[in-house]
Amino acid sequence: MELEGLPPIGGLLESSLVHWEGRVAAVVFLQGCNLACPGCPAPHLVPRAAAGGAEDGSGGVVPGNLIPAEGVLDAVFSRRAMLDGVVVAGGEPLLHDTLPDLLEILRSFGLQTRVHTNGTRPRALRRLLEADLVDSVALTLRAPLNALYSVAAGTEVDLGGIWRSVELLLGDPGDHEFRVVVDPRLLTREDLLALGRTVAGARRVVLEPAARGVLAGRPGRDYGGSGGTGGADRNLGAA
């Protein structure tokens, strides 16, 4: 097996029931991200070069040195009978030109693949879709596509890129899911409605509570209705 040239792997979750609903999936976390979200649940995965360090306690991903791809593939392969698929997340997996090679190997194990992206790399996303290397794409949105996005992402963001990624997925016949990170200290009800309009026609939209407050100190908001913002999997698709 040729393991040279695979993307840098910063973490492995050997099984998850939540990263791809309806499937038991392993989750491979690639190192490196082009955003700097203040509420990032895995800040150790953001630097392109993995640093050493201690466990951050944010949900199981162990920071530090990269994991040898061979070990990861071994672990996934040995469990392939119990797994339905593998989710490749990050960081931002689409930063890596070698992502298709990793997906190809995982596909060769007889497993389905999903990529979790922040949507900032539409060209890489298009290439993946055209090469038919993913069975599902999950795109995370953090704010309506306006100036607020850069606040939520902690850095300047090419909104056009995210917009193109959204359109790509909406127009693609394959499976997709939009995950909306809901931080009541950042987003108003109107923001959420605007996001709903952005992804109108989506097959599936999941509301995801922010792991940590984006803007510490700002009071939370009441979006009205009985649901609040707490639960995942509340469908905005019809909104």
Binding site: G11, L12, L13, E14, S15, S16, L17, V18, E21, G22, R23, V24, E55, G59, G60, V61, V62, G64, N65, L66, I67, P68, G71, V72, A75, R79, A81, M82, L83, D84, A232, D233
Partner: protein
Amino acid sequence: MVRGVEERLGRARVRRIQAPLLSSLVDAELLEGGFLGEPRRRSGALVPRDAIEAALSPRSRPGAALPPEVAARRLGGEVLRAHALAEVFPEDVATAHLEGALHVHGLARPAALFALTLSLDALKVEGVPGAGGRTPSRAAEDLRRFLAQVGRASRTLRGYATHGVGVPAANLLLAPLLPGNGSEVPPAPDLREEAWHLLFEAASDPAGSAAAMGTDLDLLAEVPACLAPVPALGPGGRRTGESLGDQAARSLALARAVVAVRASGEGLPPRATLPGLNIVVGRAALGDPRSRELLREALEAALRGTPIRLALERDGIPRPGSLLLRDPEEDAGRCAADGGMRPFCAQRVTLNLPRAAFRCPPGDLAGFLRECDRLVDLAVAAHGARRSLLATVAAGEGGALAPLFVRSRRAGGPPPADLASGSWSVGIIGLNEAVSHLLGEEFHESDGAVKVGARVLSYLGLKVREAGAALDLRVHLDASTSGRASERFARLDREEHRREQEDATAGRGHYTEGAALRPDAPADLLLRLEREGRLHGHLRTAVFRLDPSAEPGVSEEGLLVALEKAFLHTGIHQISFEPGAGAPGRAVARAASSVARVGDGARVGDGARDGDGARDGDGGGD
């Protein structure tokens, strides 16, 4: 005898006692006087002073009121326990029990059985069994009255079982009593009303009487092929002209109603007293959208905190009282027999596997198996002794077990059950720690440890069968989940084998139940399912515990997928969803080159219990 009981009460300073609750003290006197069983020695059974004091002190908090009936029952239990050890069991068995090499369950009620099943079809035909030779009540003519009879019968039977009473195929056998024919599914509100009555009637006594231990309702998620052609019995036990297979839609709808009502809890007795719900899942149920709907709803209830168990039946035979009494060889024939499905397990003796291991140096697997041989021989000798006692108390229409084993003259026909048809259980505790001592690795740490564990279980399985056959007893190997036995073993081992225990338990000082992975081991759900599944294959009953709250963000759909994986790719027998009970690893990640795992999941102990009828899942009554 009366004076004897009075003196016991006087010594215990119990001033008031309700008449029915005198029974355990009277039993004690009977046993002591030689009227029950055939005591070999006539000697008073001495109850240690601290046991009496413990029996008479409230266990919840100091100074709390202890109801006289509870005090009397505990005291009676202590006397019976002492008597049984002195007179009923061979001396080497009693010594092994007292030293904590094994645990004989149900000593406080030696004349009771371990687990029983209540056959709804038999109840339809025969009415409620009459206790102590009294005539049974008539078969009910409508569902509501029948449910009241179910309540009465399960209360009666609970008095005869120390561990639990199971009601097999409850939804399927109740379905023919619903109004209309098999193809008519009553409206959901009507079904919920009946479900409420079923749960209410099957609930145990919150006051903690002898019948406080619960009833388990088995709900079938499909109609198994072996039951489909069985004639459906309607009101009064008469054949409806339809088969159980015709009841599939109603049966499923009723199961969904039971789950919904149990999850809502509205108007029901306290949660702890409600019957356990065991959903029996076969291959067909996983492929049927309507059955999947039931499973989804049950899992959703589990996520919201309702304790639910799933029994995974891969061969299409619903084990009668599946969670208590599986018998792979006999169930197939029994389940198709009219009025069948009422087997029982007479006694369980649990082996302290860590102790057996600690008596050998690390690496000495052969020595460990020799220790196990000795323990199995003792356990089976205990079964033989208990059988002699039960045979005596079962005899005749006035015998204590007459409603179970003797048909009253009025009812005629064969007896409801046959003592010889019962099974006997040898339970195990702490296989993980035993293997850890022998191999230096726990189940979650290496595949090799699981292989050794499987080898031990396979050896023990054969050994218990052989030893049982020599006494003409059907003995099975089970995973014991008795928190009390586990806690007792660990406490006694601390005295004799402190160093070995600390090493094998990484300083925790307590043992894992049955053949499970350590609850707080850093192992994720798949690893647990896969490894425990390989061990379940060697056991008659074993439970995989899953705390849904330890899987943050998981939905019922996610749990359903996990269930499918467990069914198709592992040998797991049962999955018990127990909110707050433990945390089979959640997010488990691999660190770079060290491939170290981090997990969380501190698990509360194994549910220590007080032996007064409180249940800890599958725990024993003693």
